[in-house]
Amino acid sequence: MDGFFVFAIDWGFIFDQSVKQAVDINAIVYALAAIGLNVHFGYAGLLNFGQVGFVAMGAYGMGLGITYWQTNPAIAVLIGIIFSVVFALILGLPTLRLRADYLAIVTIAAAEIVRLMARSTALRDITQGAEGLNEFIGPFRDLNPFSPGAEYGFGPFVWSGNRFYTIVIGWTLIALFLLLVWQLMRSPWGRVVKAIREDEDAARALGKSAYWYKLQALILGGVIGGFGGMVMALGNATVQPDFFVAPLTFFFWLVLILGGVGRVWSPVVGAIIFWALITFIQNLGRQLVADGLIPTSIMDTTQVDQIRFWIVGAALALLMVFRPQGIFGSREEMALDAH
């Protein structure tokens, strides 16, 4: 499809890039984060506006496992999980007894705290401040069965050995967590969680501790988000605090809502569609600017990258007003009480 030019725009390239990005590492990270968020909000009704904090916890935990605690990859992954669990406890223990909005406020603040502390000079010795962790990738790459120099894939889906390795791991994790969530939600545990989401008091009157189940859901969704962070770390071979800025949480929310809240697989579909669309629009925008079809007095190429924020912001607002169930969700699932 390369070289398919119409109006001086290489549609072939744009198309190739869009479908490739739809399954590439970014999409995987967003899918995992959104699966976690689906557990939080779709199933348990928790308003977690700090999912990016969980992603950061997984990434930093895993990275620090190698750079700071000097252990092997398996333990490093375990540390990433532990970081996510601890974060969930810090967030959940004080707030889960309170109204849903308070969790929203606390999570958005906590995720920002994580970023600021990771960035700080005070913790420089551990987190390396703004430059972040860069030395952890070696032991992971050693486990790569694929050859780093070779290329794998077909058509537009071609990646180098290292990247392909991360992508395979990523999609495997997605499949695993989808299975996990599916199994949980059809079990009695899932039944209790669904009941709590609809009416906490009814569940309590039947002997279920709403607080405890919400905490479990928070931990589970957070750990899944943490794995998203680990895939991000593997893919980028670096963990930097400014990857985990607050708007990212709302990109995850958009992916979740776009796919449809409350279905097991819809976060993944949402991530794929989101990345395909965003890549398409951004590449189109860049070409339009590069060809002068959009004058640089209006927008230059760096500013094109900001378009994604406008799209996410507008899409979130519009979706919630006109189609809160997204593409595959059901309208009834989205209905939630005022307080």
Binding site: D101, I105, E112, L116, A122, F309, V312, G313, M320
Partner: protein, 458 residues
Amino acid sequence: MNTSLGLAGLGRRLVGVFILVALVLGLFAIFASPAMAENEMVGTRFVYTDLESGERVPAPGVLVTVDDSNGEFVGEGESDADGVVEIPVDGPGEYAMTVDPASLPPGVFLADAERATVSVQVLPNQVGRAIFQLANESEAGASAGGGVTFRRVAQLTVEGLKFGVFLAMAAIGLSLIFGTTGLINFAHGEMVGWGMLMAYFFNVFGLVGVFGFMEGWPAPFGGGVNLVWAILIAVPLGMAGGWVFDRYLFAPLRNRGVSLIAAMIVTLGLSILVRYVYLFAFGGVPRFFLDFTAQSGIEIGVIEITPKDLITGIISVLILVLVGVFLQQTRLGKAMRAVSDDRDLAESSGINVQRVISVVWIMGGGLAALGGVFIGLSEQVSWNIGFRILLLIFAAVVLGGLGTAYGALIGALVVGVGIQVSTLWIPTELKNVGALILLIVALLIRPQGILGSRERVG
């Protein structure tokens, strides 16, 4: 219940207040405006805090260079005994001043090492002011050398109170919006940014910045106006923004029965959209207003404060007192508190809840805008003030009690002072983190805040 009479009375009072404030500001503007310069210049003043005396001390001998907007070298200079350096430039336009960090006095360095270059707008016959924040070596360290002196505590407390009253103006709106509608407005930070950026726009560009055909028209159409007038334009714009939000977005959503959580996510989406439009329009580099920006502090007792901070602080206190009076004494204010307390009860008492909510949004928008301008004047004008201030607003209202105006005020003062005084022990870069940690701790100990009611919390 005759709220229309209350509204007209309120209208008269607000107009009166604004005229009064305008007169006061106008007088100070005349006395405080910078001396007229013959030519255009780019200037700055270097001061830092001497650790032993705790005093603000000028830094002589600091080398600077100035380049024009094409990157061409224009001039260079060295700061004098007062820390002042002014370099003539060839005409109005955009310039960049670069500091040579090696020329700073020993132990002193740029607070933000990435910002050795600052862009400056120079208008006809004006001196464009650049601001460089200097810090002492241990200020950025874990414990500030110079210790906990009474002078430092007092200075920090005053700075904290000053920021606190600005924060209070922003926070009251959010607290009341929550109280009357149950909605947490995540876009409130961008309303603060709106005031800040609108004031900057009218101060520097005037409407000709958008409508090119207005070239040659008198200001504020053809050019920028003094900041005082820019504020008087920005605040009503803030009020209008608040009104528009409610009338065209949130009231229809309420009437449609859209859940509060959905509405909250709408505000989130809007805040991201608006914030990045700000970035697009304004750029990523912080700038400063044209007027009143570089002032030296005057000494009052043990503390040092610039005239602009003193004036804006006093004005803010006056405005907050007025808000308090409004809430306590006027019919509309009481109605507002009633709706905040118990909406259904208020409605069945005959209060026009929709009108009260509308006024809450207008007031919130105006106060936020004013807070934004004052913060911009006190610190800098930037595109992303919104998010940072939003988190501090949350800390303030949670501490004080979500839903009450007085709670927001107390919480904001506590947060403001807390942040500043905490720099005695924790690094400056982490002072906001302190506020956020305080937020989480407050939820553990007393979730309803200082003035809130337990039932609201769950």
